[in-house]
Protein backbone atom coordinates (compact mmCIF):
# COMPACT_ATOMS: atom_id res chain seq x y z
CA UNK A 1 0.00 0.00 0.00
CA UNK A 2 1.16 3.47 -0.72
CA UNK A 3 0.90 5.98 2.11
CA UNK A 4 0.67 8.94 -0.27
CA UNK A 5 -2.85 10.26 -0.32
CA UNK A 6 -3.96 11.08 -3.86
CA UNK A 7 -5.32 14.54 -4.60
CA UNK A 8 -7.53 12.99 -7.24
CA UNK A 9 -8.59 9.45 -8.13
CA UNK A 10 -9.55 8.56 -11.69
CA UNK A 11 -11.48 5.36 -12.12
CA UNK A 12 -10.77 4.40 -15.74
CA UNK A 13 -11.63 0.74 -15.29
CA UNK A 14 -13.38 -0.66 -18.35
CA UNK A 15 -11.90 2.01 -20.58
CA UNK A 16 -9.79 0.72 -23.47
CA UNK A 17 -6.33 1.68 -24.69
CA UNK A 18 -5.46 4.56 -24.72
CA UNK A 19 -8.38 5.73 -22.52
CA UNK A 20 -6.70 5.53 -19.07
CA UNK A 21 -3.56 7.26 -20.36
CA UNK A 22 -5.70 10.00 -21.90
CA UNK A 23 -7.58 10.52 -18.66
CA UNK A 24 -4.34 10.71 -16.71
CA UNK A 25 -2.86 13.28 -19.10
CA UNK A 26 -6.02 15.36 -18.86
CA UNK A 27 -5.98 15.21 -15.05
CA UNK A 28 -2.29 16.13 -14.88
CA UNK A 29 -2.94 19.12 -17.13
CA UNK A 30 -5.64 20.37 -14.79
CA UNK A 31 -3.67 19.60 -11.59
CA UNK A 32 -1.25 21.79 -9.66
CA UNK A 33 2.44 20.96 -9.30
CA UNK A 34 2.78 18.59 -6.35
CA UNK A 35 -0.69 17.08 -6.76
CA UNK A 36 -0.92 13.31 -6.69
CA UNK A 37 -3.18 11.54 -9.17
CA UNK A 38 -4.23 7.90 -8.88
CA UNK A 39 -5.56 6.07 -11.95
CA UNK A 40 -7.36 2.73 -11.87
CA UNK A 41 -7.06 0.78 -15.11
CA UNK A 42 -8.01 -2.62 -16.49
CA UNK A 43 -6.38 -1.97 -19.88
CA UNK A 44 -3.22 -4.01 -20.58
CA UNK A 45 -1.63 -1.16 -22.53
CA UNK A 46 -1.54 1.09 -19.46
CA UNK A 47 1.15 -0.96 -17.71
CA UNK A 48 3.74 0.19 -20.21
CA UNK A 49 2.11 3.31 -21.63
CA UNK A 50 1.56 5.12 -18.33
CA UNK A 51 5.06 4.67 -16.77
CA UNK A 52 6.64 5.56 -20.13
CA UNK A 53 4.62 8.74 -20.50
CA UNK A 54 5.15 9.77 -16.86
CA UNK A 55 8.90 9.49 -17.32
CA UNK A 56 8.95 11.28 -20.66
CA UNK A 57 6.71 14.07 -19.41
CA UNK A 58 8.96 14.56 -16.37
CA UNK A 59 6.55 13.59 -13.60
CA UNK A 60 7.07 11.11 -10.78
CA UNK A 61 5.68 7.59 -10.76
CA UNK A 62 5.12 6.98 -7.07
CA UNK A 63 3.96 3.45 -7.60
CA UNK A 64 2.18 0.81 -9.64
CA UNK A 65 -0.01 -1.45 -7.53
CA UNK A 66 -1.73 -4.64 -8.58
CA UNK A 67 -5.20 -4.53 -7.06
CA UNK A 68 -7.96 -7.07 -7.35
CA UNK A 69 -8.77 -7.17 -11.07
CA UNK A 70 -7.13 -3.85 -11.93
CA UNK A 71 -3.93 -1.85 -11.66
CA UNK A 72 -3.50 1.40 -9.74
CA UNK A 73 -0.96 3.97 -10.93
CA UNK A 74 -0.01 6.79 -8.60
CA UNK A 75 1.64 9.82 -10.16
CA UNK A 76 2.89 13.13 -8.78
CA UNK A 77 2.84 16.19 -11.01
CA UNK A 78 6.36 17.63 -11.00
CA UNK A 79 6.20 20.57 -13.34
Amino acid sequence: MSDVKPTKVIDARGSFCPGPLMELIKAIKEAKVGDVIAVYSTDSGSKRDIPLWVEKAGHELIGVYEREGYTEFVVRKKR
Partner: protein, 137 residues
Protein backbone atom coordinates in the same frame (compact mmCIF):
# COMPACT_ATOMS: atom_id res chain seq x y z
CA UNK B 1 6.67 19.06 -31.86
CA UNK B 2 6.19 15.47 -32.94
CA UNK B 3 3.82 15.00 -35.84
CA UNK B 4 2.09 11.88 -37.14
CA UNK B 5 0.49 11.70 -40.54
CA UNK B 6 -1.90 8.88 -41.42
CA UNK B 7 -3.25 8.10 -44.88
CA UNK B 8 -6.56 6.34 -44.39
CA UNK B 9 -7.26 4.35 -47.54
CA UNK B 10 -9.29 1.53 -45.99
CA UNK B 11 -12.95 1.88 -45.16
CA UNK B 12 -13.45 -1.21 -43.04
CA UNK B 13 -13.99 -0.91 -39.30
CA UNK B 14 -11.16 -3.30 -38.36
CA UNK B 15 -8.72 -0.90 -40.04
CA UNK B 16 -10.45 2.29 -38.95
CA UNK B 17 -10.22 1.28 -35.28
CA UNK B 18 -6.41 1.54 -35.20
CA UNK B 19 -6.69 4.92 -36.93
CA UNK B 20 -8.88 6.07 -34.04
CA UNK B 21 -6.76 4.48 -31.30
CA UNK B 22 -3.46 5.81 -32.65
CA UNK B 23 -4.91 9.27 -33.25
CA UNK B 24 -6.23 9.54 -29.72
CA UNK B 25 -3.00 8.20 -28.18
CA UNK B 26 -0.95 10.61 -30.31
CA UNK B 27 -3.15 13.55 -29.36
CA UNK B 28 -2.85 12.62 -25.67
CA UNK B 29 0.93 12.57 -26.03
CA UNK B 30 0.81 16.05 -27.50
CA UNK B 31 1.62 15.05 -31.06
CA UNK B 32 0.16 16.94 -33.94
CA UNK B 33 -2.05 14.54 -35.93
CA UNK B 34 -2.99 14.71 -39.59
CA UNK B 35 -5.36 12.26 -41.19
CA UNK B 36 -5.68 12.20 -44.95
CA UNK B 37 -8.77 10.21 -45.92
CA UNK B 38 -8.80 8.87 -49.44
CA UNK B 39 -10.85 6.39 -51.46
CA UNK B 40 -12.68 3.87 -49.24
CA UNK B 41 -11.22 5.63 -46.26
CA UNK B 42 -12.97 8.84 -47.26
CA UNK B 43 -16.21 6.98 -48.00
CA UNK B 44 -16.17 5.88 -44.35
CA UNK B 45 -16.42 9.55 -43.29
CA UNK B 46 -19.74 10.00 -45.09
CA UNK B 47 -22.66 10.82 -42.81
CA UNK B 48 -24.67 7.91 -44.18
CA UNK B 49 -21.79 5.51 -43.54
CA UNK B 50 -19.73 6.60 -40.51
CA UNK B 51 -21.76 5.25 -37.59
CA UNK B 52 -23.46 2.36 -39.35
CA UNK B 53 -20.42 0.92 -41.05
CA UNK B 54 -20.38 -2.85 -40.43
CA UNK B 55 -17.74 -3.77 -42.96
CA UNK B 56 -14.56 -5.56 -42.06
CA UNK B 57 -11.67 -6.78 -44.21
CA UNK B 58 -12.73 -9.51 -46.63
CA UNK B 59 -10.18 -12.01 -45.35
CA UNK B 60 -11.60 -11.78 -41.82
CA UNK B 61 -15.24 -11.61 -42.84
CA UNK B 62 -16.23 -14.62 -40.74
CA UNK B 63 -15.07 -12.75 -37.63
CA UNK B 64 -17.23 -9.67 -38.27
CA UNK B 65 -20.24 -10.72 -36.22
CA UNK B 66 -18.08 -11.67 -33.23
CA UNK B 67 -16.05 -8.46 -33.47
CA UNK B 68 -19.07 -6.15 -33.52
CA UNK B 69 -20.69 -8.13 -30.71
CA UNK B 70 -17.62 -7.79 -28.49
CA UNK B 71 -17.27 -4.09 -29.28
CA UNK B 72 -20.88 -3.56 -28.27
CA UNK B 73 -20.68 -5.70 -25.13
CA UNK B 74 -17.53 -3.98 -23.92
CA UNK B 75 -18.98 -0.62 -24.81
CA UNK B 76 -15.92 0.32 -26.85
CA UNK B 77 -15.87 3.78 -28.41
CA UNK B 78 -16.29 3.78 -32.17
CA UNK B 79 -13.43 4.91 -34.41
CA UNK B 80 -15.40 8.12 -35.03
CA UNK B 81 -15.66 8.76 -31.26
CA UNK B 82 -11.93 8.12 -30.88
CA UNK B 83 -11.05 10.71 -33.52
CA UNK B 84 -13.58 13.12 -32.02
CA UNK B 85 -11.98 12.69 -28.56
CA UNK B 86 -8.55 13.19 -30.08
CA UNK B 87 -9.75 16.46 -31.64
CA UNK B 88 -11.07 17.65 -28.29
CA UNK B 89 -7.72 17.27 -26.56
CA UNK B 90 -5.20 17.99 -29.28
CA UNK B 91 -4.24 19.41 -32.62
CA UNK B 92 -5.88 16.88 -34.94
CA UNK B 93 -6.86 17.63 -38.51
CA UNK B 94 -8.82 15.44 -40.87
CA UNK B 95 -8.33 16.15 -44.56
CA UNK B 96 -10.46 14.76 -47.34
CA UNK B 97 -8.72 13.76 -50.56
CA UNK B 98 -9.83 16.14 -53.30
CA UNK B 99 -9.57 13.56 -56.06
CA UNK B 100 -11.81 11.02 -54.27
CA UNK B 101 -14.13 13.86 -53.36
CA UNK B 102 -14.56 14.87 -57.00
CA UNK B 103 -14.57 11.36 -58.37
CA UNK B 104 -17.53 10.30 -56.23
CA UNK B 105 -19.19 13.70 -56.55
CA UNK B 106 -19.13 14.30 -52.78
CA UNK B 107 -20.15 17.50 -51.06
CA UNK B 108 -18.57 18.77 -47.85
CA UNK B 109 -21.96 18.45 -46.15
CA UNK B 110 -22.07 14.73 -47.01
CA UNK B 111 -19.17 14.21 -44.61
CA UNK B 112 -19.29 14.06 -40.82
CA UNK B 113 -18.25 17.17 -38.91
CA UNK B 114 -14.80 15.90 -37.93
CA UNK B 115 -13.56 16.44 -41.49
CA UNK B 116 -11.80 19.79 -41.64
CA UNK B 117 -10.91 20.48 -45.23
CA UNK B 118 -10.64 19.07 -48.72
CA UNK B 119 -7.02 19.05 -49.88
CA UNK B 120 -5.14 17.88 -52.92
CA UNK B 121 -2.38 15.28 -53.08
CA UNK B 122 0.25 17.99 -53.44
CA UNK B 123 -0.73 19.75 -50.24
CA UNK B 124 -0.97 16.45 -48.40
CA UNK B 125 2.56 15.46 -49.44
CA UNK B 126 3.95 18.82 -48.42
CA UNK B 127 2.34 18.36 -45.02
CA UNK B 128 3.37 14.71 -44.62
CA UNK B 129 6.96 15.63 -45.46
CA UNK B 130 7.14 17.40 -42.11
CA UNK B 131 5.85 14.41 -40.15
CA UNK B 132 7.99 12.22 -37.91
CA UNK B 133 5.73 9.22 -38.35
CA UNK B 134 3.78 8.39 -41.50
CA UNK B 135 1.36 5.51 -41.77
CA UNK B 136 -0.77 4.09 -44.58
CA UNK B 137 -3.78 2.23 -43.28
Amino acid sequence: MTKISIIVFSGTVDKLMPVGVLSSAAAALGYEVEIFATFWGLMAFRKDMAEKNMKISKEYEEMAEMMFKIMKEKNMPSWVDLIRQAKEIGNVKVYACAQTFDMFGMKKEDLIDIVDEVVGAGEYLERAKEADITLFI
